[in-house]
Symmetry: C2
Subunit: 344 residues, 2 copies
């Protein structure tokens, strides 16, 4: 990030017509956005959410409350024609409300999906392998997924996106997200494994056993982040990593939604520590382990609505706050400009 | 609020394509909005912030970090021509970003303000009297301010507002807000009196002494809410009460910003308990006593950004969340509509 722009932005915030610090976290966010966009008058415009879908071999272990067919059905929902426009899922509806563009990518759904003009067919594989028993992805598959994410993020940026929200849909994907988080943070499985879409106690216990078994099997270590992603991750998680790396490399802000997105971010900052400067966590997600991810990243979320949906929903909800934070730097008058007396 | 619409909305939320409860507080908000708008498909459109300005005789006691001239200067800032449009204050900038309309009213600024087409001259008095020594307002002045708020809210609604954000500007106004809050909640002065725009320890101690003296002087009691408003309140606070009562009576949602707004709401729910159903607290405000107000109202804020600016800024920031919550009920597909398998 641009340290000079951040310094200038911080000085500017102190001159704007409000008591110093009265905009709270919004002031910090505005300074970080100045760093991302390289100016103390940042002007992010377009917001894009890129929803990546993938399936997970580990669902064979019974780790989710929903049948795996839901992944494909939800992808159809993301692109369905409805009376209100394209898509009838939460992310579509919230994106329409705040004016965000929705991109949908099949990076690893375990079904042949009908072609649709709004569905990017970037399928690497029909779902990952069962990570309890073997590596979820090969190194090559992992890279393919990352590059697919990078490419689609590049297109979204070319089409006007300044704030990018990586989102995901994949039944079972909090299991790989927890496994990746446990490995990257060196945290206990129990401390970073929650109920996902809402599993019961017995399923939660099984999910934790499965993740423990995967970690025991797997020889990857946090010093080899791409190895961890391949062994324990998922195709849509690797794809989101690609979105993040591309967005940061093109100096765009990344709005970080929930726990699955957070697992991709942990791998990302291990690969490229500068990525952190481009990450803006949306909400505190209700999933166990999300707080540990944010603590590791050293970043403060904007709200705590108890969301645990994924799809990028929280990230899209947060976009107006980030646009507003940038706008304060860009459009507010200073005490001098407005001839307002400052404090005595 | 419409109980049948709320029941129907709650049932509908359980059928939408997401795990039950996965949208967290957004689901509760959507159900409450169904109650306000009398339908399980609520469609709020326009957002209006009504910023009321007034001065306070109690500033003679040295309770604020800023000189009282700031009130008039900030009103000029709300209507100033800037390269980005009308107004260079935080509320203008955030309202532009999220598409909210800004109304500005002089209900009691202690200066003759230049006329401006966007400034409503609704001045009741050149500021309140010093509440340490005497009643801040007469009963008649209080009613005039309430009616002025009601009238402007009615116009905003006629011009399309479905979400109304009462906002305020008035140097010194956390002092009357704390006095009203202490009286209405029967709370200790220290527990509901904070630093406002950022006063130092000595000023905070003096502010608390002034409020204690006012409470000792004043014979009003919580059972006479309008008496409390007149004795301890402010012109812009009474005006916001009028905005709230009118919005609720026309079945519109009220986005509740910060501590000063909260003091008006306490008086409002004491007058008309149904008002509570129409109130949607935006953020947890950093000012001492705000949490006690929300606990009394039994309402949960949407975020905690550490805002302590007023002007309605937090309320405007929250508007996209409320519009999104309503949109989930209105535009999301059900499991049946989308042919998505529900949980096993």
């Amino acid at each position: 990030a641009d340290a000079a722009a951040m310094t200038s932005a911080r000085e500017r915030q102190a001159q704007l017509t409000k008591p110093a610090g009265a905009l709270g976290l919004l002031e910090d966010l505005s300074v970080r956005l100045a760093g991302v966009f390289g100016t103390d008058r940042p002007h992010p415009r377009g917001v894009a959410v890129i929803v990546a879908a993938g399936d997970h071999g580990v669902v064979a272990e019974g780790v989710s409350a929903y049948p795996p067919e839901v992944t494909a059905a939800m992808v159809a929902g993301f692109t369905a024609s409805t009376p209100s426009g394209m898509g009838g899922a939460a992310v579509n509806v919230i994106a329409r409300t705040v004016g965000a563009k929705v991109y949908v990518a099949d990076v690893g759904v375990n079904a042949e999906l009908p072609t649709h003009p709004a569905l990017e067919n970037l399928k690497v594989r029909m779902g990952t392998r069962n990570l309890r028993l073997e590596r979820a992805m090969t190194a090559d598959e992992t890279l393919q997924a990352i590059l697919a994410g990078s490419d689609l993020a590049g297109r979204a940026i070319a089409e006007g996106a300044d704030l990018l929200v990586p989102g995901e849909m994949g039944i079972g994907n909090t299991t790989p997200a927890s496994a990746v988080t446990a490995r990257m943070l060196g945290a206990s499985v129990a401390s970073v494994t929650g109920r996902g879409t809402g599993v019961d106690d017995a399923t939660l216990a099984r999910k934790r056993q499965v993740i423990s078994a995967a970690l025991d099997r797997d020889a990857s270590h946090a010093g080899d982040p791409l190895g961890v992603m391949a062994d324990l991750g998922g195709l849509e998680i690797a794809f989101m990593l690609g979105v993040m790396l591309r967005a940061a490399s093109e100096r765009r802000a990344i709005v970080l939604d929930g726990f699955v997105e957070g697992s991709a971010a942990l791998v990302g900052v291990a690969l490229a520590p500068e990525l952190r400067d481009y990450l803006f966590p949306a909400g505190q997600c209700a999933e166990t382990g999300h707080a540990a991810q944010l603590a590791h990243l050293g970043l403060t979320p904007m709200f705590d609505l108890g969301l645990r949906l994924g799809e990028g929903t929280g990230g899209v909800l947060a976009a107006p706050m980030l646009l507003s934070a940038a706008a304060t730097l860009r459009e507010m008058q200073t005490f001098a400009e407005a001839s307002v007396p400052d404090r005595e």
